[in-house]
Amino acid sequence: MNRFGLLLKRQWLEFGKIYLMSLVVLAGILIGFYFFNIPDFNRSLYRWDDHGHVQLGFRLPTFMAIGFLFITIEASAYFSAFGQKPKAIMELMTPASATEKFICAIVFSTILSIISYLLIFYVIDAFFLNYINELWHNNKATNYNTGQLTPVVFSTLFDDLTSEREFKFLFALPFFFSSIFLLGSIYFNRFHYIKTAVSVTALFAFIIFITIKFGSWVTEGKSRVNSSNLMEKDFVFTIFFWSSVALSLIIWLITYVRLKEKEV
């Protein structure tokens, strides 16, 4: 345990500076995005959510796209040292066990990057909200959900994330993508990100192709029954959620074995 603490400290002293720099870059990009998307007051097309707040149309796509990029880039950078022999030797010869090195990798590449992403996004978003709510605080518009004239108050990030009940089934996805790119970073010796992205895309394309083929073969000659049963829908989403959790765990296991068997 003491040694694990030392390892965290070592990795931080070695990669912390670069990590903090990446956070600054992230913050810069996010501020830029928000800056160019200050909503125009005269544009009357507001999207109202169920709580009577106005949604920022660009927020969720930005949150997901940049989040995906940030988390996968951080994950694919972590083991990149293993692609260069001299660095890999230094890492492997550090007196800590493979398990400790692996957990340290998860802490830095996944947990820390997801938390810091949420935090930075949230803080920038909060400042921004503060600013535009102040700007708009005397204005009212018609909420199409209620038909009433309502003061314009913008929804928060948290509101948006909980606006659709299916969203909660997606919460394992950041871990899933992070795990894939972490594996990619130890699997490939160079160009980790591109190679991982290409192979994952190819794999997904193949799986989707097979699924469609299989689906059309199974459902051939059968007619479609429309179902809006929430239970059934939830069941599919639950399977989706747990399989993304299970896949992340399996990919982490493979990464661990890969780390243990890494030779230089």
Partner: protein, 275 residues
């Protein structure tokens, strides 16, 4: 200290590097690992450090199997690779990050070594030249007080004064508890430092003998003419540098380069002498 039993290793199936290699190394010695390019010097060192895994046979390093990469063993190995990497930080923060992993790390000794090597302790690792960096990792490695010191071509990139400093430091680093293995091409840099020669050739150990044993069995001489008693000779300014069996109990100085070439050329003649 180290036991190698029937080690088999190769980077590809068709080209084995070691076939059933066996050897024992003990503490209190500086072993000089010699061999042609591609004979597997670095690979043998990596096997010992657990950086690559044997494909057959057993390795025992201080009671551990290096393939398991247990922290207790790793903290007793100082591995100086030929090509190394140091992060772009100050010496101070490098020490803070790495020294605590070694329970016996000796900061005072490190300070002495850095002084000997003329490296100011306030330096940033990134501003240092290749030679200075190399001296730094050697100093750091020795200050860990690791019992097994493995160095791959340590004098590469060192200037002439640094080589002398290196020899002094290694002479003082050898203790009864320590085992030092140095692979080298530049035999002349190190020949007085090495007390036991290990030569790799043709997938195996071609020779493993102490300098004392070698010079008891062989004589290294300048001769005017070659006769049949001579195992191997190379022309020199005044005749030949020759290796021959030491019939007259002469106490000659081991010429490692000559021995190296001699064994490569006349392996069969030497085999019966060393067994």
């Amino acid at each position: 200290m180290i036991e190698i039993n029937n080690l088999n290793f190769g980077y590809s199936k068709h080209k084995p590097l070691f076939k059933n290699m066996s050897m024992r190394l003990s503490n209190g010695h500086i072993y000089g690992l010699l061999g042609k390019n591609g004979a597997g010097k670095s690979t043998l060192l990596k096997n010992l450090a657990g950086l690559v895994y044997p494909q057959g046979g057993q390795l025992n390093v201080m009671g551990f199997n290096p393939s398991k990469r247990q922290p207790a063993l790793l903290s007793q190995i100082c591995f100086i690779p030929e090509e190394f990497y140091l992060p772009p930080v100050k010496i101070d923060s490098y020490l803070k990050a790495n020294a605590p992993f070694y329970p016996n790390f000796d900061h005072e000794y490190l300070a002495t070594l850095l002084k000997e090597f003329d490296i100011p302790a306030s330096n940033k690792l990134i501003d240092m030249s290749y030679g200075q960096k190399k001296k730094f990792i050697i100093a750091f490695g020795l200050a860990t007080q690791a019992r097994l010191v493995i160095m791959d071509e340590p004098t590469n990139g060192l200037d002439i004064p640094s080589k002398a400093q290196f020899r002094k430091i290694m002479a003082s680093a050898l203790t009864d508890e320590r085992c030092i293995i140095i692979s080298t091409h530049q035999v002349r840099d190190l020949d007085n430092l090495i007390d036991t020669v290990i030569m790799l050739d043709e997938n195996d150990v071609a020779l493993k003998a102490s300098v004392e044993e070698i010079t008891t069995k062989l004589a290294f001489k300048r001769v005017k003419e070659i006769d049949e008693s001579i195992f191997y000779a190379e022309p020199s300014l005044s005749g030949y540098n020759a290796v021959m069996p030491n019939y007259h109990h002469e106490e000659s100085k081991l010429d490692m380069e000559l021995l190296f070439n001699a064994i490569l050329a006349e392996k069969t003649k030497f085999k019966p002498l060393f067994n």
